[in-house]
Amino acid sequence: MDNDAQMIKSMSNALIDLQVKYRAASVTDRMQIKPALDDLIQKFSQFQIALLKEGTITTDADMAEMANLKKEIDSAANKQQMIAAIAKTAGFIVKKL
């Protein structure tokens, strides 16, 4: 188990145990424990997201480029439609001749 996995496991255990304590505590104690619980959940979530980012390859610039490629193909489609329309018109004219 690498360090990240060990950290995830420790945070998970801490979150579970802290929730058990929290739920058994009086309201006065819960008021004091709640900030720690909030903080742990937030840090744990951020840690998980960081794991995800490490595995993320596509950047914002890549996202923009994918949109450009779509435009390029869309315009090719329009060009195709235009040629088809011209061909149709040409065919129509040929029939009339």
Binding site: M1, D2, D4, A5, I8, K9, S12, L15, I16, D17, Q19, V20, R23, A24, S26, V27, T28, R30, M31, K34, L37, D38, I41, Q42, F44, S45, Q46, Q48, I49, L51, L52, E54, G55, T56, I57, T58, D62, M63, E65, M66, A67, N68, L69, K70, E72, I73, D74, S75, A76, A77, N78, K79, Q80, Q81, I83, A84, I86, A87, A90
Partner: protein, 283 residues
């Protein structure tokens, strides 16, 4: 000239349609995989939610435990309200990260949405999209490893099980205690199996999606050389393989090893290496 282009386009149109279908398939598989990951990540930080009845009971218990009546005030009401939302903001931020990831696959699929209409003119753009097919495929292989290497628990359910274990352990009647302990032990074993099943299924979905992505990349790579029949046969054999992956017959370790091989092949192959390292020149 117009007629020549139309004839050439007609030849390419079916191939373009096949690539479009493969890209849709890739997106669809990737979304299932990412939804599975999203669920695992949410469960790992999940907080026990109270039903309305449980909340009423909790408030009554709190009110009974307060010694000084002056402590019953607006701050206390605010606390109870905030308490009901514990963990919600973190869940939203995790969900939002996954929405961003999903949008990459929708964007990739969208590249090809009008491809069959302009198949003759779009060859260059299709070629440029190849890099993203490979990037997103490698991303999914990487995610499968992240899931495999880490523990994902259903935290809120573990909390409830610990509470039940404590109650059972403190039961004075021996017969009833053993019964309660047996029930909660069974719940724990079932939960552990559910956690493992969810994790394994998510890894399988990631690898299934990676296989769909690999096929799209291959189709783009060999687009000029392949005929429609080759393309459809490639998609079909990939779908068969994907069915084997999610069918649960192959073990996870074996599958991960196989896909590590796919990853090495992509990264070491002189052709893919160049594609991966290329900077796409903006038009």
């Amino acid at each position: 000239m117009v007629l020549i282009i139309l004839v050439l386009s007609g030849c390419n149109q079916e191939k373009a349609e096949a690539v479009k279908v493969a890209a849709e398939n890739f997106r669809s598989d990737a979304i299932v995989a990412l939804n599975g990951m999203n669920y695992l990540f949410d469960q790992n930080v999940s907080v026990v939610r109270l039903s309305n009845e449980e909340e009423i009971e909790s408030v009554v218990n709190d009110l009974n435990s307060i010694e000084n009546v002056d402590d019953i005030n607006s701050t206390l009401l605010d606390f109870w309200s905030d308490e009901a939302d514990i963990g919600q903001a973190s869940k939203s931020s995790i969900d939002s990260e996954f929405d961003n990831l999903k949008s990459q696959y929708y964007k990739f699929e969208a590249i090809f949405s009008s491809l069959e209409k302009g198949s003759y003119f779009a060859k260059d753009a299709v070629k440029k999209a190849e890099k993203y097919a490979i990037d997103l495929t490698l991303q999914l292989i990487n995610f499968s490893r992240v899931i495999q290497d880490n523990d994902f628990r259903f935290a809120s359910r573990r909390v409830l099980i610990i509470e039940r274990m404590k109650v059972a352990r403190l039961e004075p009647n021996e017969g009833l205690r053993n019964e309660l302990l047996k029930n909660v032990a069974r719940e724990f074993v079932e939960l552990r199996l559910e956690e493992k099943k969810a994790k394994d299924e998510t890894i399988r979905q990631c690898l299934k999606a990676a296989e769909s992505g690999r096929v799209v990349a291959e189709l783009i790579k060999d687009y000029d050389k392949m005929n429609v029949s080759d393309i459809l046969s490639s998609i079909k054999s990939s779908m068969n393989f994907a069915a084997e992956i999610t069918g649960g017959n192959e073990n996870i370790t074996g599958l991960l090893t196989k896909f590590e091989g796919v990853e090495s092949t992509i990264k070491d192959d002189p052709y893919w290496k160049v594609v991966l390292e290329q900077d796409i020149i903006k038009n």
